[in-house]
């Protein structure tokens, strides 16, 4: 069953068509990759799903409900969170607080409750911190709890983005080039993490990535965009051998083995 469905999605910037008439479905609890050359429209595709951009035309359905026209924070509330290709952390806040912000819409306490010391608000805060800590442990950042997010090295920042995104307990998690800037070893760890998240968090994952080793290893299904159009889709084996994909994207030498 598709949890997320996209119909005829088009986005134009002035004269430039960044994505054109894309339709696709994402299976629940799958790991789906979106790949394609630079400027193919992958990030734009994520931006439309998360309501950063409004599609020029087309529809996006989560469990059959349209998301088009919502505000970004509403999309998050509906259960879709993401990471960003250009890291966007709250640099001046601690790592822990970054994760707590990720939990924002799950916390029910009202500020009036905070002021009046309502016990339920207090308890919720305590529990949230504990949970945030566990998430940080999970992504391997527990030693940086009190560090300012902006001071972390690149790879750690990427993991913190993931931590913040899963803190919202999403149904669908969008990862935009999570392995960028990581060395093979770190990428390996990331691969394991993504795998584990799917089962442990019961979440559907869509990722954009240029690291083909990771993509081929991890994905259940792959969509390939080029010049804003969907040029191929299929399981990794099919994509790896798809001529158009090799030509436009992979390059001959890059057909790596698993």
């Amino acid at each position: 069953m598709s949890i997320l469905e996209v119909k005829n999605l088009t986005k134009q910037f002035g004269g430039l068509t960044a994505t054109s008439d894309i339709s696709m479905g994402v299976e629940k609890n799958s790991i789906t990759a979106v790949i394609g050359p630079n400027g193919a429209g992958k990030t734009t595709f994520f931006n439309m799903i998360t309501a950063v951009y409004r599609p020029t035309s087309g529809d996006i359905l989560l469990n059959g409900k349209s998301l088009v026209g919502l505000k970004p924070h509403q999309v998050s509330k509906f259960g879709i969170t993401r990471t960003f290709q250009n890291i966007r952390l709250f640099n001046e806040q601690t790592v822990l607080d970054n994760v707590l912000v990720g939990m924002h819409q799950r916390l029910k306490g009202h500020w009036v409750g905070t002021l009046l010391h309502f016990p339920n608000v207090k308890r919720e805060e305590e529990n949230a911190k504990i949970e945030a800590y566990k998430i940080l442990e999970y992504v391997g950042l527990e030693e940086y709890v009190n560090e300012n997010a902006g001071n972390l090295a690149y790879g750690a920042q990427r993991r913190l983005e993931i931590a913040r995104a899963i803190a919202a307990k999403p149904k669908v998690l969008l990862l935009d080039e999570p392995a960028a800037g990581m060395n093979p070893k770190e990428t390996q760890k990331l691969t394991d993490l993504i795998h584990d998240m799917r089962t442990r968090l019961d979440v559907t994952i869509i990722l954009i990535e240029h690291d083909m080793k990771l993509v081929m290893k991890i994905s259940d299904f792959i969509y390939v965009l080029d010049h804003g159009e969907l040029i191929a889709s299929g399981v990794p084996e099919e994509i790896r051998n798809n001529k158009r994909v090799i030509e436009a994207y992979l390059g001959k030498g890059a057909v790596l083995n698993g």
């Binding site: 050359p37 400027g39 290709q85 090295a153 690149y154 790879g155 080039e177 240029h210 390059g251």
Partner: protein, 241 residues
């Protein structure tokens, strides 16, 4: 390996750099000879970018010296370093977001007075990255991640530097472009440009490099020929997976 006077093209001696109170480099020793490709590998936060920034002057080393082409550039401001012939493709691309692609390239050749030279160089860059030619008037900031990376490299090439430093040039690029980038680096090198390459993609970097350094928590822990390092057990274990 050293030139006639026994000095190297670029040489770092015991360089220590700080961010506020945080020490990022604990005494780096490193040299590059003219015409070499040297690569610097290491895990996240090891200090690769900081090393480049120390050379370019974005970070002022607290102690140690940096010699380039026989002159001490340790205390140089970034623009002076650039004028002396060192270009850097910074981490995260750092495109001027509200300048057009054309202007971004032009500014790379800021110190060049001759307009003709500028347009010649620009044509060369277009030869490497045709996408840039298609988007001459697009604002740099709206280009896709990979397009920006191309622009950043192109911009540095506009300077026609003696030493080109690339900080993770393959990050965010499609595999096919990554290959291209490495090809371009090789080609530039053939034409006489000396190259210092920081890469996560250690395998490919070491393949094209004459020599490589491995940096760990702010210190050089290994150095050697590219091919040697590639086969080094320790390196394979740590970075090549």
């Amino acid at each position: 390996m050293a030139n006639e006077n026994g000095t190297h093209f670029l040489e770092l001696k015991q360089v220590e750099s700080f961010y506020g109170k945080i020490q990022a480099l604990n005494g780096i020793d490193l040299y590059i000879n003219e015409g070499e490709i040297v690569t610097l590998i290491g895990s996240n936060g090891a200090g690769k970018s900081t090393t480049l920034k120390s050379i370019s002057g974005q970070v002022q080393p607290k102690t140690g010296t940096i010699l380039f082409d026989g002159t001490d550039i340790t205390k140089n401001a970034p623009h002076q370093t650039a004028l002396s012939g060192i270009a850097q493709v910074p981490e995260g691309r750092r495109i001027f977001p509200r300048l057009t692609v054309r202007e971004n390239l032009q500014i790379g050749a800021f110190s060049v007075k001759d307009k003709k030279v500028v347009s010649e160089r620009m044509e060369r860059v277009f030869g490497y990255f045709p996408r840039l030619k298609e988007r001459l008037e697009q604002k740099g900031g709206t280009m896709s991640g990979g397009e920006q990376q191309m622009l950043a490299i192109g911009r540095a090439l506009m300077m026609k530097p003696k030493l080109l430093m690339l900080d993770e040039p393959s990050m965010g690029l499609a595999p096919i472009i990554v290959e291209q980038i490495f090809d371009i680096v090789k080609e530039m090198n053939k034409e006489g440009m000396t190259i210092l390459l920081v890469e996560q993609n250690a395998f490919q970097a070491l393949q094209i490099a004459n020599r490589g350094y491995v940096i760990q928590t702010g210190s050089i822990v290994l150095e050697g020929k590219g091919s040697e390092l590639m086969t080094n057990e320790q390196v394979r274990e740590a970075y090549l997976a």
